[in-house]
Symmetry: C2
Subunit: 390 residues, 2 copies
């Protein structure tokens, strides 16, 4: 039995754990191939034998960020899909597995359908991965927990730093990833312990905020606390304006830069010293903020994909279904690739937008319980109100 | 005996460890005061009693980033220095201690001289702190080790991420802090294991590189490896051009933005997909990259300052003097504040510029030995050269 596995889309800090979870659990008599550089490698037939020494080498990447097989963003046209399936037929590959997000699952679904059209019996399995958490049909996807941990810790650290320096600068605007979904930006508030703790304002793509209202909120916060830590999703835009685009790479537009616009606005309109901090690629690749729970789940989704191959499942993505018991429990269930593909980007639900405490309760187990119970951060304001000698 | 201690300049991830090291070691019969918001609090007489419950509260900040007493950048004119000394006299404070960098030590030196002029017997001690490592008279300063660790890990992570995505984007330009000194930027190369590992090019303020030469180097690197991870110090400028300034905050110019200029240059002149990543404030405040060695040394410099107060030392900064034995050893010695103040910014010495291996050997013990021995990162290029089935 010949099986090919690839990684696609933006890497995460735990995408290699999924790959190794899969490789560790596959039948020993299977012949394994790694697809290089995502779908580009599939279309161009760039496969490598994963056996012996090479398999052991790949296993060494288990705990390292980045996609060790090479990933990428590749425009998969109908012609290219046909070409890819032809290669699979020619190479006698019966099973194809991809680790990826929305675009990856939609492409897998198309490959599945194309193979059927061409009368080729292809087994297709998807393993979920995204830092944006915008993948449908699963409670969350591996990669998100570590990215959310990075964002939450960054927001706390940057807020502490700004608080020390508020006689020099007053406003910091952190920009997160997330495309059109606010999951990552909303995660920045997880470690906030009181109103005076930052982030003081979180701007999500799901929100529509007027510029004037934004400015008056910032002004009020600075009046109250002497500073404002603001978090802004890259997909956020002020009411009536379009999203800010950082660039167009190879025909794909990349969001980014709204925090810089907001920095200018705060400087010009409020006369405050402001600084945008774009969290950037660190969110998806930092080895410093890996959530062990996230890595474990990444490994388990890979392991389960391997088990499902033995069980003959096809046309499905491994999904994480949270169980409503006391504590944190989940099961891994097959989710139709077509359903995932048709679901589009999963936004932050109304319940979490209106009840942020419920969102934090949902989020807590994913980022690992080793940072939730930090010693409480005592604020300088508390100290300031104590007796002075002057 | 009345003693006042303050924190000044940009915070670090370990500046509170120095404060707690000091507080833990001071004589029990001393009356302690915390100076709020750096020199601004000294001039405005904003002191707080550090005793009982308050002392315990401050101790809770030991392992947290940011300056828990409040720090700041404050222009200390001659008039304000006189005012500060008057407050010290009025409050009967015999000893003043500040944790800070170049500006802080120069200010302490002036206060010391002013007190002498005014016939007041003031004991003055400085505790070193800077992420830029540009402080004279000491092998290195607490705060630098953790910032260097952040930079080295970030460069490795970003490089892994870019390597996964090189069919989508080819160039990343990381911008570090450091003002006119290249210590932090140079630290980015510590975890590089081979030529093909990033960072492939490190641009220091101490270097003068022509734009054309820079572009041809980037082109060559991309031709060779399919990508280029570049690190640029905020203080770097192309030959014949002036440094890029991010902003002027309260009359103080802040460097920053050269990576954005370089991004535009690479896009326009080489037609490559490029992205600047400004590492930003995380370098000085990330709780994720604290070097335990750095924190230990921060604590010890604070402890030593307290010991020196008992010993009657004055007009000195605690300096770290490395001992040339096998392994890593250092002693803490007093360094004249005047000498430190007159030394200016300490740049990367010629020896480290020309022999980067010596610099890395010098740096290694400061960032902690827990990351040096990571499993070797196996490159996709190695995999790529292995047998394929096509």
């Amino acid at each position: 039995m010949k099986i090919a596995i690839g990684q696609s889309g933006g890497p995460t800090a735990v995408i290699n754990a999924s790959l190794v979870g899969f490789l560790d659990s596959i039948n020993e008599d299977a012949q394994l191939f790694g697809i290089q550089n995502g779908y580009e490698g599939l279309v161009n037939n760039e496969l490598i034998n994963l056996e012996g020494q090479m398999l052991n080498r790949v296993r060494e990447f288990k705990n390292l960020p980045g996609a060790c097989l090479g990933s990428g963003r590749y425009k998969l046209t109908d012609d290219k899909i046909i070409q890819a399936v032809k290669h699979l037929i020619k190479n006698d590959i019966q099973t194809i597995v991809f680790i990826g997000g929305n675009g990856t699952m939609a492409a897998l679904d198309k490959i599945c359908q194309q193979a059927r059209l061409m009368g080729y019996d292809l087994q297709v399995i998807g393993i979920p991965k995204t830092v944006d958490n915008d993948l449908c049909g699963t409670d969350h996807a591996p990669g998100f927990g570590s990215a959310a941990r990075y964002v939450a810790l960054s927001a706390r650290d940057i807020n502490s730093d700004l608080e020390s320096m508020k006689n020099f600068e007053q406003v910091r605007i952190l920009e997160t990833m997330g495309r059109n979904a606010g999951w990552l930006a909303a995660s920045s508030g997880l470690l906030k312990q009181s109103d005076e703790d930052g982030p003081h304002l979180i701007c999500l793509p799901e929100d529509k905020i007027e510029k004037g209202h934004f400015l008056s909120q910032v002004k009020e916060i600075v009046q109250e606390y002497g500073m404002a830590t603001i978090v802004m999703s890259e997909g956020f835009n002020f009411a009536g304006e379009s999203q800010t685009q950082f660039a167009s790479f190879n025909g794909r537009s990349v969001l980014g830069g709204i925090s810089k616009d907001a920095e200018q606005l705060v400087k010009q309109e409020l006369g405050l010293a402001a600084r945008a901090e774009i969290l950037g690629m660190h969110q998806r690749c930092s080895s410093m903020a890996v959530s062990f729970q996230d890595r474990l789940e990444a490994y388990k989704t890979g392991h389960t994909a391997a088990e499902w191959i033995k069980a003959g499942k096809s046309g499905v993505m491994v999904s994480i279904q949270r169980q409503q018991h006391i504590g944190y429990n989940y099961i891994l269930e097959p989710q139709s690739l077509t359903r995932v593909a048709n679901g589009g980007e999963k936004l932050l639900p109304i319940e979490f937008l209106t009840h942020r405490d419920r969102f934090y309760k949902w989020l807590e187990p994913l980022i690992g319980d080793d940072i939730i119970n930090y010693p409480p951060s005592l604020k300088r304001r508390i100290i300031k109100h104590e007796q002075t000698i002057c």
